[in-house]
Symmetry: C2
Subunit: 292 residues, 2 copies
DNA sequence: TTGCTCCTCACGTCACGTGAGGTGGC
DNA sequence: TTGCTCCTCACGTCACGTGAGGTGGC
C-alpha cells in the first residue's frame, strides 16, 4: 500500500516526478523547488508528495523550453495576472515557432520523395520581354526588417497609379520591383517600383516612361510566405555565380500571387528574375580579392 | 550593380546568408562550409556566392535543430539515400515534438483565460459504490515504458471475460485497473484488472468474485492521450498528500473513453480514484524520515 | 589617419549529464 | 558486510555569443 504522507529521497521523488536528481538539485539552488526537508547532518534532501504538482508544472514548462528564470517567476509569483502574461507571451512565441517548423517540415516532405536535392530550387534562363514602365526609386533602411520595404513598395505603387490616373491612364500590368543592391541589403534597400504602361500611354507620358530592357534572365519561382523566400533567393544567386554569369541589371521581383489574391501568405507566389549574360573573358581581373 | 562573381568577406557573406561570422568559423572548423579562399598572410576568409545555397541549407537544418554532426553528414554526403534517410528520421522526431508542443499550448490556452492555476486539475472527494468484481493481478517490468502495461491490461481483461463467458456470464461494466504500487512504478507495475459482475453472477462464481469496497475516494478526470496523464496524476497525489489524507487502498483507474470509443487518443477520458480517509492522529510517527 | 572589419584565443551561456571520491542507510 | 543511494565538487556538452588584444584595408 502506498503511503502518500511519506517523504521521498531525491532519487525516488525524481522518478515519480519524471525528473532527474541533478535537475532537482539545480531547481533547489535556483529557488524553484526546495525539498520539504534537508537532513542537517548528511545533507540528504527529502521531498513531500505535496510538491509533485509543482514538480510537474516545472517539467511541463521546461518541455515548453521556458527558461528557468522565467519558471521561477511563474512558480513563486503570487500575481496571477503576471503569470498569465508570461504564459501568454510564451504561447505566442511557441505558436510562431510551431507554424514555422511545421512549414519547414512540409517543405522537407515535398522534396524527400523526389530525387532532387532537399531544399533546392529550380532555376532556368528565360527570355524576358522589354517593358515600358514608369517607376519610382527609394532607399529604405535595412535594419528595421522587411516591413518598411513592403510599406515603401505599396506607397510607390499607389503614387504611380495615382499619377497615371490623374492623366486618365491605367497601368498595363502588375508592378515589378527592381532591387539594385542585393548584396548590401543589411545596410539599406535600394528599390525601384515599376508600373508597366502600354505604348500609347508611354507616348502621352513622354520622358517619364522608359523601357525596362528584355533579354535572358535567370529565373526562379517561390511559393510561400515572404519571410521564407531567402532559400529561393540564395539558390538563384548561387546558380548565377556557379555558372559565372554576369548580372547586367537589377534583380526583378514579380508578385504573381500576393495579398491582392489570397489571405493566406503560404499561397503567395513570387518570381525572381535577374538579367544575365555570359561573362566576357577578363584576364585582367583575378577576382580573388573582393571588390571594394 | 551587384557583381555576383566577387568574393565576400566573412561579415558580408554572413549577413547575405543570414548567419553570423562566429557560426561560419565554426562551420569551417567542422568541415561543413569552408571558405572559397583563405588569405595565407592575414587568415582572412573569403566566401563565394556559389556557397550561398549550402549556407542556406545549413541555416534551415539548424533551424530544425539538426545537430552539426548530422548537418555535416547531410552536406558532405554523396549518398542521396542516406541523406533522405537522415531527413526522414528527423522529420518524424520533429513532427512528434510539434504535435506534443501544440497540445501543451492548447492546454495552456484552455487555462489561460480562466482564474484557475495554469495546468491544474480539479480533484474532488466522491462516494464510490462497492462493486462485485473478478480480477487478475500482474507484476510488469517498469523499464520498458507503458506498452507492456497496456498489453497486460488487455490480456487480463480478455482472460477474465473469456472465463465469464465459459460459464454463460457477462461482465456488468467496464474494467477497472487497480494500481497497488504507484510510488515504485519505475521498478515495476503491480496492477490488478477487475471486471464488475452482478450479484447473480457473483453467486455462481463463488470465491472467485470479491467486493471492491466503496467509500470516499479522491477523484480526478483527465482528458487526453495516456502519455500526457502524468500532470493529472501528480495533481491527485499532491492533493491527497496536502490534505494529509491516508490512502486505504490501491488507486483505481477507469477508462471512461478509450480505444473502444474513439480512434483519437486526444479524446480519451480517464478517471483516477483513490480511496482515502482522514489520517488518524499518530504522534508516534514523526514522518520526517521516509518510510523504508 | 580614422573607423571599420578581420584575426585568434579564451571565457561565458544554458540546463543539465557524467564521473570522482567519499559517505550514509538498511 | 554488501550493494545501493546520497553528498559535493568539477568538468563536459552543444552551438554559439562576447569581449580582449592585436592587425588589415581603404
Amino acid at each position: 500500500m502506498d503511503d502518500l504522507g511519506q517523504l521521498l529521497t531525491i532519487g525516488r521523488f525524481a522518478r515519480v516526478a519524471g525528473l532527474t536528481p541533478k535537475a532537482l538539485r539545480i531547481y533547489e539552488r535556483m529557488g524553484i523547488l526546495r525539498p520539504a526537508s534537508i537532513d542537517p547532518d548528511t545533507g540528504y534532501r527529502y521531498y513531500s508528495l505535496t510538491q509533485l504538482e509543482t514538480a510537474e508544472t516545472v517539467r511541463l514548462l521546461r518541455e515548453l523550453e521556458v527558461p528557468l528564470t522565467q519558471v521561477r517567476v511563474l512558480i513563486t509569483g503570487e500575481d496571477p495576472a503576471a503569470i498569465r502574461d508570461v504564459l501568454a507571451r510564451h504561447r505566442v512565441i511557441l505558436e510562431e515557432r510551431l507554424s514555422h517548423l511545421s512549414r519547414l517540415v512540409d517543405r522537407l516532405e515535398g522534396t524527400l520523395g523526389s530525387d532532387r536535392e532537399p531544399l533546392s530550387h529550380d532555376v532556368v534562363v528565360e527570355e524576358e520581354p522589354a517593358r515600358l514602365v514608369v517607376s519610382l526609386r527609394r532607399q529604405i533602411a535595412g535594419d528595421q526588417g522587411d516591413a518598411p520595404l513592403n510599406a515603401a513598395e505599396w506607397a510607390c505603387e499607389a503614387e504611380l497609379a495615382a499619377s497615371l490616373a490623374a492623366r486618365g491612364l491605367a497601368p498595363a500590368g502588375r508592378p515589378i520591383t527592381l532591387h539594385h543592391n542585393v548584396l548590401q541589403w543589411y545596410e539599406h534597400y535600394d528599390v525601384e517600383v515599376c508600373l508597366p504602361v502600354d505604348a500609347g500611354a508611354a507616348g502621352q507620358l513622354g520622358g517619364e516612361a522608359w523601357e525596362l530592357p528584355g533579354g535572358p534572365c535567370a529565373t526562379t519561382v517561390f511559393r510561400g510566405p515572404w519571410e521564407e523566400l531567402s532559400p529561393a533567393y540564395a539558390a538563384l544567386m548561387s546558380w548565377i555565380a556557379r555558372r559565372r554569369l554576369a548580372v547586367v541589371g537589377p534583380a526583378r521581383w514579380f508578385y504573381l500571387v500576393d495579398e491582392r489574391d489570397t489571405v493566406d501568405p503560404r499561397e503567395y507566389v513570387t518570381r525572381f528574375s535577374w538579367p544575365v549574360r555570359e561573362r566576357p573573358l577578363d584576364p585582367g581581373r583575378p577576382s580573388i580579392r573582393p571588390a571594394s
